[in-house]
């Protein structure tokens, strides 16, 4: 589910939100636009790094590396933040791909952090708390394996 057909009508959107929950339509509109920009930039940057890493990797490996039929788990340098950064810094193809994927995972996390800030700006403290809670769950998840 998710992707729906119609292209939105810009003219209607220009009026911004006017729901009861919203404090100020123009503020909300600006927040929405910044959030859209943040998401788009994160995904495009991540995809670019993954593509560069992929090109390096494919150029250096003529033959398939390993098999995916049997699960072995990735070597440690491709599953921790310090390992991935080290591999990417030495222009290792797989290291660069993992760095791009890390950036991709970080994109929605950054969006939640941005939401927390935006709600604080609107003085909507209930939602500041909600955003910070979600951020804490994400931090727990991302930190769980990287000791």
């Amino acid at each position: 589910m998710g992707n729906e057909p119609e292209t939105p009508k810009k003219a209607d959107v220009g009026k911004g939100h006017m729901g009861k929950g919203h404090m100020d339509a123009s503020t909300d509109k600006r927040v929405d636009q910044l959030m859209g920009l943040l998401l788009r930039t994160g995904v495009l940057l991540a995809a670019a790094i993954v593509a560069i890493g992929g090109a390096v990797f494919v150029a250096r490996h003529a033959e398939p590396v390993g098999s995916y039929r049997v699960f072995q788990g990735e070597p440690v340098q491709y599953r921790t933040l310090p390992g991935i950064v080290r591999e990417a810094a030495s222009f290792n193809g797989r290291g660069l791909i993992q760095l791009g994927l890390l950036l991709l995972i970080a994109t929605p996390v950054a969006r939640v952090a941005f939401s927390a800030g935006a709600f604080a700006y609107e003085r909507d403290w209930v939602y500041v708390a909600v955003s910070l809670f979600v951020l804490a769950v994400l931090a727990y998840s991302l930190g769980s394996g990287h000791g």
């Binding site: 589910m1 998710g2 992707n3 729906e4 119609e6 939105p8 009508k9 810009k10 009026k15 939100h17 006017m18 729901g19 009861k20 929950g21 919203h22 509109k29 929405d32 959030m35 859209g36 998401l39 788009r40 995809a47 993954v50 593509a51 992929g54 990797f57 494919v58 003529a62 033959e63 398939p64 590396v65 995916y68 039929r69 699960f71 788990g73 990735e74 491709y78 599953r79 193809g93 791909i97 994927l101 890390l102 991709l104 995972i105 994109t107 929605p108 969006r111 939640v112 939401s115 909507d124 209930v126 939602y127 909600v130 979600v134 769950v137 998840s141 991302l142 930190g143 769980s144 394996g145």
Partner: protein, 276 residues
């Protein structure tokens, strides 16, 4: 390696394209494609699908948020349920056998295909205000052909509960579980359909990120496999979304739903036959 990357990349492109056309999302097709067609272990397949889900949902969410469809407050509040659910699902994945995961996947896939085939934009009755939703300032408005339309949100506790399940499935199976998210918002919380689907999309990235961190550190995300999958699905879904804007795709949607149904049955069968 070039052939392998190209074949997986092309398959993912097609999956992303069809996923966007049908509204099922590319991730839900990736796992059966990789496991059934290419014999990839389901854990690697789930890891690769998860990152492609983050890419497509964040890309699409960018547009929907900007255009004012998504209800950010509803999304943020329900993300409490989906992220905790995703953590539970990723933890559960450690204790379930691959064949059991495959069977659950098949069942969820069947439900998703059925839901996308059946869905109709029902006429929106104006709902009375709800105490919890009012306190949480969830009521909002969304753009329609006749200008902005106000709506009230209802059924917050039930929606929250269903969202937890959506999170568990997402963390366990590496999918966005958009079908279950839409069920929570469209059916339980009475949000307009367009708001449900776009808010679901908005939430999928955060939900998937909650389990992706765990999968990455567990070594499920293989760079050489995830690279063609993520890029293929991303490009394919962008193309599919563009085509959707103009074309009538009822037949294609029907055919694709049938294909998904067959894949689901095959996953369930293989799961019971112990082939995972």
């Amino acid at each position: 390696m070039v052939e392998f990357t190209a074949v997986i990349g092309f398959g993912s492109l097609l999956a992303g394209f069809l996923g966007a056309l049908t509204g099922l999302g590319g991730g839900v097709v990736i796992v059966p494609m990789l496991t059934l067609l290419f014999g990839v272990d389901i854990r690697y397949a789930i890891g690769a699908a998860l990152v492609s889900v983050i890419a497509t949902s964040s890309g699409a969410a960018a547009a929907y948020v900007r255009d004012g469809y998504s209800n950010i407050r509803v999304g943020m509040f329900l993300e409490i349920a989906t992220t905790i659910g995703a953590l539970s699902g990723a933890a559960l994945a450690l204790y379930l056998k691959a064949s059991v995961i495959a069977i659950i996947f098949g069942v969820v896939l069947l439900y998703s295909a059925w839901a996308s085939y059946r869905h109709q934009e029902h006429a929106m009755d104006v709902q009375p205000p709800d105490r919890i939703a009012t306190w949480l300032r969830m009521d909002s408005a969304y753009p329609t052909a006749n200008g902005l339309k106000q709506y009230h949100v209802r059924g917050v506790p039930l929606g929250f509960g269903i969202m937890y399940i959506a999170g568990v499935l997402s963390g366990l199976l590496g999918i966005g579980s958009g079908a279950v998210k839409v069920l929570a918002m469209d059916q339980a919380m009475k949000l307009p359909f367009k708001v449900s689907t776009t808010t679901s999309n908005f939430m999928i990235g955060v939900t998937a990120a909650a389990s992706a961190g765990i999968y990455l550190s567990r070594g499920y995300i293989d760079p050489a496999l995830a690279m063609p999958v993520m890029l293929g699905v991303l490009v394919g879904s962008l193309g599919g979304a563009r085509l959707l804007a103009g074309a009538k795709v009822t037949t294609l949607r029907l055919v694709f739903s049938a294909v998904i149904g067959l894949l689901a049955v095959e996953m369930i069968y293989n799961g019971f036959a112990g082939k995972f």
